[in-house]
């Protein structure tokens, strides 16, 4: 191990980790919003839109992110749609993640009894109010484990941003590896950097999941 090489390049890895984390989180946030909208369209059977959403979910879940990114970054500009590397990263990750998040939220929504919605409407709430105060909080609790699993999955997928000429962790590592030849050092730092990003996220996920599970308003019929 060449420790001086490692210490010299810690700032590079920090910068790369920041890019990975930042764009990962943008992607996760946008995916969650898109996924939630799609899940509402699916669960409440909005005509026309529903068919579009279904097609989108299938497309996003059955194609690799790498191919999606190539299409966005190298394909679309040729027909006049030009996105920056950063925009491609967020759009690509959102395209992929939206489909997965939609499925997660949809199963959460479907787990809420139909009668809950009727009960909300029977006390004079409008449908949007019922969804917001009655249905969604319960759906979120059920969907939480799947949503967190998707979040971790999406952050891992950011490793493919390196094809977009973004200086994320992968690309930092690649650049250093090809120029310096210190493969082992570079790979060790790469692993450590990903652990540093992913470990807190997965610990947080476990904690929230446990809290949700014991929140105590589940459907168990204990009297």
């Amino acid at each position: 191990m060449d420790w001086s090489f490692i210490t010299a390049h810690v700032p590079d890895f920090l910068a790369g980790a920041w890019v990975t984390l930042r764009f990962g989180l943008y992607g996760v946030a946008c995916s969650a919003m898109l996924g939630l909208l799609c899940s509402l369209v699916l669960a409440y059977r909005v005509p026309v839109l529903r068919a579009l959403v279904r097609a989108y979910v299938e497309l996003s879940r059955n194609t690799p992110l790498l191919v999606q990114l190539f299409f966005l970054y190298a394909g679309l500009p040729r027909i006049g749609i030009r996105l920056s590397a950063e925009a491609c990263a967020v759009v690509g990750l959102t395209f992929l993640g939206g489909g997965y998040m939609a499925e997660a939220f949809r199963s959460g929504l479907e787990a809420v009894d139909r009668t809950q919605r009727e009960a909300g409407e029977c006390i004079g709430l409008t449908l949007p109010q019922t969804v917001r105060y009655v249905v969604l909080p319960q759906a979120f609790a059920t969907a939480a484990p799947a949503v967190f699993a998707n979040m971790i999955f999406l952050i891992k997928e950011t490793s493919m941003f390196s094809v977009l000429a973004m200086m994320d962790l992968m690309n930092v590592a690649d650049t250093l590896r090809t120029s310096g030849g210190r493969t082992i050092e570079v790979l060790s730092m790469l692993v450590i950097a990903y652990v540093a990003i992913l470990l807190p996220v997965s610990v947080l996920a476990t904690l929230v999941e446990r809290r949700m599970r014991y929140a105590g308003f589940g459907h168990q019929h204990s009297v």
Binding site: E58, L59, R61, N62, T63, P64, L66, V67, Q68, F70, F71, A74, G75, L76, R78, I79, K156, E157, T158, S159, M160, S162, V163, M170, A173, R177, T183, I184, L187, L190, V191, Y194, V195, L198, S202
Partner: protein
């Protein structure tokens, strides 16, 4: 528009070349799936072992393999092993090694989940009917396990197929790489990249979608 790009697909043997590239990824995926199923069954049984330490080791292994982005694992094997052990593995071999380790772990977890989801009273009621343990396995327990396992295992195989797109990053000449070569040759066609990448996107979809539709159908049927 007379020669704007879509025609590139039908120039010379371009389409066959793309299919050839696709076959490279599919071959890796098929070998990986085959190995993962066989090894995963064994790994799953290990995870169900009565020995706590053995279970803990398996669990740790699973978590580690799951934790890292697959691209990082590919780099570790492809670039790292060469440096550490002097093994000069080619891209395809590295990919099969990495994906099989990962697929085995995931498959093992599915096996564990499927087996432990069969309630104890199923075993007991089989015994109460006077079935021998062998008969109980053959007629009661294994069919139920398979029904739980098969849809999930099929889903895992689509994940493996999508993941094999990554081998592009370790210099395997697969479908994306072939696409780039074609684009390079026909660089005068402005819209060529758009059509080539769109085609690859659709090809992946056409492979993965029927498989996940099958998994969904089986899941619904056996629910």
């Amino acid at each position: 528009m007379q020669d704007s790009g879509i025609s590139i697909l039908f120039k010379g043997v371009n389409f066959q070349r793309l299919m050839g590239g696709l076959w490279v990824t599919l071959r890796i995926a098929l070998i990986t799936i085959g190995l993962s199923v066989v090894l995963g069954l064994a790994f799953g049984l290990l995870m169900l072992s009565r020995r706590r330490t053995l279970r803990a080791v398996c669990r740790a292994w699973l978590e580690i393999v799951r934790f890292m982005p697959q691209l990082v694992l590919l780099y570790l094997v492809y670039f790292g092993f060469a440096r550490l052990f002097g093994w000069d593995l080619d891209g395809e071999t590295s990919a099969v090694i990495v994906f099989t380790f990962w697929g085995t772990a995931e498959m093992g977890d599915l096996v564990r989940g499927a087996v432990s989801s069969i309630p104890l009273h199923q075993r007991e009621s089989a015994a109460a009917l006077g079935l021998t343990p062998m008969q109980a396995y053959r007629h009661v327990l294994i069919p139920q396990t398979v029904r739980r396992l098969l849809p999930q295992a099929i889903n895992l195989s689509t994940r493996i197929i999508k993941t094999t797109a990554l081998v592009k990053m370790i210099n395997v000449t697969e479908v994306l790489k072939v696409g780039q070569q074609i684009i390079g040759q026909f660089y005068r066609l402005r819209e060529a990249p758009f059509w080539v990448y769109l085609t690859i996107f659709i090809l992946y979809f056409l492979i993965c979608w029927p498989i996940s539709a099958l998994a969904g159908w089986l899941e619904k049927r056996w629910a």
